[in-house]
Symmetry: C2
């Protein structure tokens, strides 16, 4: 029997002050994964916070990376489903520091907003998840499902060790549904539910041709120029019409379905905002004049991309220096749509460069993540939409896939569970940027949304998932 909405809301309201105090403690630990900073102390604090919420927590070592915090609470009820929470306790670097209006590691309340690095991404969500769980447990006398709670420490650097951890702990992580680490409302105040992420394959390409830089007057006719080698190699990878030239690159790329296009069509208009933000003239989006309306939305998330993220070689100062560079390097990322695979891209990239005469181009594979999809019509998504509409007073919007990337595939694909994403964010939240913050109202709304969803989650998922049980024996 689901808890009464009044009881849930009252419990959340009662826990609000304490939750903010917990968030302040958590944000005070500068767990910047890019710098390998304060990760173990942060993991320990997250474990303590789980325990305070009635969850048994352990710190699980991860070879080569910071530990995973894994929490588990078994309901005393029988035949209930298991819900897994995926979150991360690491944060982005706070720099540039001078653009913050208060210390990034001191949670500061101003104008009904709470500012700190991690206030939203993702410490705010950890606290919101725990508060919602606590509210449900108190309202019902016990958790109405088994709880599993995974918090990793490397999400902000691409979750390089999470895959191996999931593979090695498949049975431990088995669950019937997953609550994703982020979510919230859009520009119009509708709760947004994300049903997938693009994948990514990120590489550094580098060339070294000669022992050191030469004078262009002496060497220009004779010495191989690293910058030219890299320019030609890159030009062999994508043509000026944005077509990626790796053989077979599009073979497994699933086009948007009619249902996807229907969902994209129902999303709020974002095109004029992006046009203004980046000062794009009419017809100036990639793909030309036809890239507008639904095609704009489709292209934004359902096209594989190849981005040069950076390029560096030779003289970059002012004026003319007649130097012939011995070294050049660039960073590139491929964004992948289902069912492309980053490891395939890695192999294909090496083979293509070799075939095109660029064996001298060294590839450093900095990381990859597979694209992830959850059916937008899964009962879990529908329930999240229904409960979201109740709390926000506006219909939920369902986003079939987002342009960014994350480790979602390990849960949706490898572990095969449905996923949804109630959350505490709004578009002005400034994740990864100075003055990251949440609005206190959003924290309450997102937490209430999650609590209502959790209190009824049995309606949407059928325990135990036989496929997963079979998978666990592998």
């Amino acid at each position: 029997m689901p808890a009464s909405l009044e009881a849930l809301d009252a419990n959340i309201h009662a826990g609000r002050e304490s939750a903010m105090a917990d968030l302040a403690r958590l944000c005070a630990v500068p767990s910047v994964s890019a710098k390998g900073q304060a990760l173990v102390p942060c993991a320990e604090l997250v474990a303590d916070l789980m325990r305070a919420c009635g969850i048994e927590a352990q710190i699980m070592p991860v070879p080569g990376g910071p530990p995973v915090v894994f929490g588990e609470a078994r309901s005393r009820r029988e035949n209930v489903p298991t819900v897994l929470f995926y979150n991360h306790y690491d944060v982005q670097p706070p720099e540039p520091l001078d653009l913050w209006h208060s210390d990034p590691f001191t949670l500061t309340i101003r104008d009904e907003r709470a500012y700190a690095r991690g206030a939203a991404d993702d410490k705010g969500h950890i606290i919101s998840r725990l508060l919602a769980l606590d509210a449900v447990r108190k309202a019902e006398g016990d958790f109405p499902f088994h709880v599993k709670f995974l918090a990793e420490g490397e999400e902000e650097v691409g979750s390089p060790h999470l895959g191996v951890f999931v593979e090695r702990n498949r049975a431990l992580l088995q669950a019937d549904a997953c609550i994703w680490e982020e979510g919230g409302e859009n520009e119009q105040g509708n709760p947004s539910l994300y049903c997938g992420m693009r994948g990514i394959a990120y590489f550094e390409l580098s060339v070294k041709t000669i022992a050191y830089d030469a004078h262009s007057g002496v060497g220009g006719s004779l010495l191989p120029n690293a910058a030219w080698r890299l320019v030609w190699a890159l030009a062999s990878l994508k043509d000026p019409n944005e077509r990626i030239l790796l053989p077979g690159h599009y073979d497994y790329a699933q086009p948007a379905s009619l249902r996807d296009l229907e969902l994209l069509s129902a999303l709020p208009e974002n095109e004029p905002f992006i046009r203004d933000q980046f000062e794009i003239p009419q017809g100036g989006f990639l793909g030309g004049k036809q890239t507008t309306g639904l095609e704009w939305r489709r292209r934004a998330v359902f096209e594989p991309t190849l981005t040069i993220c950076g390029f560096e070689s030779g003289w970059q100062g002012p004026g003319a220096k007649t130097v012939l560079p011995s070294e050049a390097k660039c960073k590139i990322d491929f964004r992948l749509v289902p069912d492309q695979d980053p490891d395939d891209v890695h192999r294909s990239l090496r083979a293509h460069l070799d075939a095109q005469g660029f064996s001298d181009v060294h590839i450093n594979y900095l990381g990859g993540q597979k694209p992830a999809r959850v059916s937008p019509d899964h009962p879990l998504v529908k329930l999240a939409a229904e409960t979201g509409a109740e709390v926000y007073g506006k219909p939920a919007v369902i986003v079939p896939i987002v342009g960014g990337s994350g480790p979602m595939w390990w849960f949706s694909g490898f572990l095969g569970m449905p996923i949804t994403s109630p959350g505490i964010e709004y578009p002005g939240v400034r994740v990864h940027a100075p003055d990251e913050h949440i609005r206190l109202d959003d924290f309450m709304r997102g937490t209430r949304h999650l609590a209502r969803l959790l209190s009824r989650i049995e309606e949407a998922i059928s325990p135990p998932n036989p496929t997963l049980a079979a998978g666990a024996k592998l």
Copy 2:
């Protein structure tokens, strides 16, 4: 009647101490043109040094640049030729300072070498020219030719205003022969005479596509990437076989003549040295396995080149940053062979980029110099070779053209005079680098060579040059 060799040598020997003191004064003025530093004081000191040598000197303003020092001395003899000296009083920046073993602006004698920025390039040559002129004048009682002496202050930044100065002062600069600002001996101790320089056209190309950098997950499918635009534009300019793709680019490029190849053939072997220096494997020079021997020498100086000198865009730090760059820029230089023209290249580059769909690539023309040739069989070159062989005790080598660039065309082409290059350098001289120096013996040898050449220069040139006289009326 030429002065006796003994008198010339004795005069030079007698002036040696005073010349070194003058060089010390000149090197103490940090006339770094790249920083616009101490140029007028240096010009004034050069004018004083000319006056002390019996040359009337004036400081001539140059709109937009540092002044030219122009000196003139008329011989009392009739029907004698005019000899123009081209030099420059500016120097390269001394940085990196920590690699100098003594202060770069304090001429320091160690082990029979004189160390300072400009000791060779070009203040040492200015002092050597003045000492040679003084020795000839004293030996003969007067200059046996009319003297013109031009010292500019912007050679190290590409002589951007020299061309206009020469055009506006054509009559003033008219002469029958020109002594170039540099020269000296090669690795084997043979005096080397340069008969030309490649031209250059130097550009910065830049692209700005969007207002500021975007997230590659959001923008990769929609927003034009400045780095890609520049990569594609560059790839349209030269193919991986090193063929420059500007239409008509090779139309005016003169191939090496049989005489050029004969001269190249007689040059000392440099290929193994370059191979070792830059760690080039067998067959690793541009053009492949056939680039060796005479073809190597030909290719080194008689091929037009296009060098990427630098490229910069987006994220260049460690690790993966998923950014889509709004801006990209690169520097490129074209080396030109006779009779290519840098202004033609500028026009052709713009037209080509427009035709290829790269009107968004902005071109900043940072400077150009035309290629220059002097006949290696001109009597002036022959006389310089003969007098060089006497002084150095080894045959002179005649270099048909060098790979580097300079303002020589204004004298050889526009003013139409023969040019030669006796000088005080040796290959270890470190021009433009820390510990620039000359060997004191080389200073004496180079000065004696020049004095002997000057004392007999009437044999090689016939005053007045009727073509030039006609030209002066234009």
